[in-house]
């Protein structure tokens, strides 16, 4: 990754402050630093003011500022360092005592005046190397927090391709950081345009078309004004298509054409729009299965998967749990955990991955516990999902199913899933299922009919109860069952 950062930094115009009382030397420096934005300060007072207010990358500090000055340049070093400025001391007197004192005060570099042609070039090179290194470290501390070597390698590999036009497909379970990675790739791409994201599962087909392609005023009911679509907004930037698997075949065809031709028609418009954008897609679904099922066009898949990146869920990189908590709480209340609480966190499976961890961290920060105990962790993890509200209770898969098949179908499927689970848990006892789920017999039998489950009267002799098996041929009529008291078993 080093070469990538090197290229980025070498192209950067640096903002430099040169603190120097000697007019001739200022002239020399101005010439050597041509190409960068350079400010000069002739004395300590002016230097202090500029260091306080200016946003410099680097500053050159002469130790002695004036003939009668008592090395006031030294006193400026801590101020420059506190502002995060790379501080370079230059002196005509490079005695060991001065060098040591300057480094003690925090200077990053020290050189003896007299060969500015080489010295300044070398200082800038050292500064760039340092910046590159810290940028690389920063990626995994500030942008995509991970200590997992495999994930680091995956991100590093992905960032190599950031400046190219290659489409990227990011795979991974929900909450693993697919959007964060897409944004990071965009940030490293040096594209002038915006990062524009859209969740394909969050819109019906018509709405998705309007969102992507934009629309003309009056194109449909409610189109009160002409609106730019995401494709146009992403011009010279990146279009991030989240949940790509939820897109209909018709939309895939339209989008494929727009990606290939970089031209498209907003809804209700005869005038084509042109937009040049890079596509990054993400999904939690198995795209090969979608292709086999005929839900994903092969040519569309070919177009979006130039580079495929797989992100691991948090359950497979548990070393990231505490660095992530630290990152989430970095600007607020910091958390401390008992050993038992840590064990609880490390033992949990994190089905919601990093997103779930973030929610837990938010809840813990909002709490009033000094040191987080294991019981608190357990309680919050158990209550996390219901506390998320209605939308948190619904999975992405359920939502997509509802969009495809309608809400009634989705509700039935949800009911059937819960009932089936409860029946299995109760060894197929209907009464126990109705009691636990607080449902009527009608609801149970409607569900069973849908499940195509054969019903049998309860056999008193448990040994004769058949094993759990699916036999669609044995669908028993369910009408008029008075089953509230009878302990019946259902073969599922």
């Amino acid at each position: 990754m080093w070469y990538l950062f090197a290229k980025v930094v070498s192209m950067t115009k640096l903002k430099i402050l040169a603190i120097e009382d000697d007019q001739l030397f200022r002239k020399v420096m101005a010439s050597q630093l041509a190409g960068h934005t350079v400010d000069f300060a002739e004395n300590a007072v002016s230097a202090r003011k500029k260091l306080e207010t200016g946003n410099y990358d680097l500053c050159f500090i002469d130790l002695k500022l004036g003939d009668q000055d008592n090395y006031s340049g030294l006193k400026l070093i801590p101020l420059a360092c506190s502002k995060g400025i790379y501080s370079v001391v230059m002196s005509g007197h490079d005695s060991q005592a001065f060098i040591e004192k300057a480094h003690e005060l925090g200077c990053n570099d020290f050189y003896a005046k007299g060969n500015e042609e080489n010295n300044i070039g070398q200082v800038l090179a050292r500064f760039c190397r340092r910046k590159e290194k810290s940028k690389e470290e920063n990626v995994f501390k500030e942008h995509f927090v991970t200590e997992d070597p495999a994930t680091k390698a995956t991100i590093t590999e992905a960032l190599k391709y950031a400046p190219s036009d290659l489409p990227i497909l990011i795979l991974g379970p929900s909450g693993t950081g697919k959007t964060s990675l897409a944004r990071l790739i965009h940030d490293f791409s040096r594209r002038k345009g915006e990062f524009v994201a859209i969740n394909c599962a969050a819109h019906t087909e018509e709405l998705l078309e309007a969102e992507l392609f934009g629309y003309k005023k009056g194109a449909f009911t409610g189109a009160n004004e002409t609106r730019k679509g995401k494709l146009l907004l992403a011009n010279k930037g990146t279009l991030f298509l989240d949940e790509i698997g939820a897109m209909s075949l018709k939309m895939q065809t339209k989008l494929l054409k727009a990606i290939e031709e970089q031209t498209f028609y907003p809804v209700g418009s005869d005038a084509p729009e042109t937009s040049s954008f890079r596509v990054i897609s993400a999904t939690l679904e198995d795209l090969q299965s979608l292709i086999k099922e005929g839900r994903l066009r092969f040519d569309f898949f070919q177009r979006i998967h130039g580079l495929t990146i797989r992100l691991k869920p948090l359950s497979e990189r548990k070393d990231d749990i505490f660095p992530l908590i630290s990152f989430f709480t970095r600007q607020g209340r910091r958390l401390s955990f008992t050993q038992e609480a840590k064990t609880e966190l490390l033992g949990y499976n994190w089905p919601g991955s990093v997103r779930e961890l973030k929610k837990l961290a938010d809840l813990l920060v909002a709490g009033d516990e000094g040191r987080v105990q294991a019981d608190t962790v357990k309680r919050l993890l158990n209550s996390l999902r219901p506390e998320e509200g209605a939308s948190g209770f619904t999975t992405d898969e359920q939502y997509r199913f509802a969009l495809r098949q309608g809400l009634n179908e989705a509700i039935n499927r949800f009911i059937d899933g819960i009932i089936e689970k409860s029946l299995k848990a109760h060894n197929n006892r209907k009464y126990a299922t109705m009691r636990d789920l607080k449902i009527s017999s009608r609801m149970l039998y409607d569900s069973l009919r849908r499940l195509r489950v054969a019903l049998r009267p309860l056999r008193k002799n448990k040994k004769q109860t058949p094993a759990v098996s699916i036999n669609p041929a044995n669908i028993a009529p369910t009408s008029g069952s008075n089953d509230t008291k009878a302990e019946e078993k259902v073969v599922v």
Binding site: F25, K75, G92, K113
Partner: protein
């Protein structure tokens, strides 16, 4: 180090070194300078040379 006034000799060494360093670097610049820049540089270099003489004389007078 900054709390005490440096020794006069130490100060002289620093000043002479600094001013000579400026002159040396300015000479490097002269090679590729335009006529206007060269005039400006030469003027500044002359001032620097005068300042050098001055600080040496001052030191001598202090002794």
């Amino acid at each position: 180090m900054t709390d005490n006034q440096p020794e006069p000799l130490e100060q002289l060494i620093h000043d002479v070194n600094s001013k000579c360093a400026s002159l040396k670097s300015a000479v490097q610049l002269l090679r590729n300078a335009s006529d206007d820049e060269r005039r400006e540089l030469l003027e500044l270099m002359a001032q620097q040379a005068e300042a050098l003489v001055k600080i040496i004389v001052e030191y001598k007078n202090q002794q």
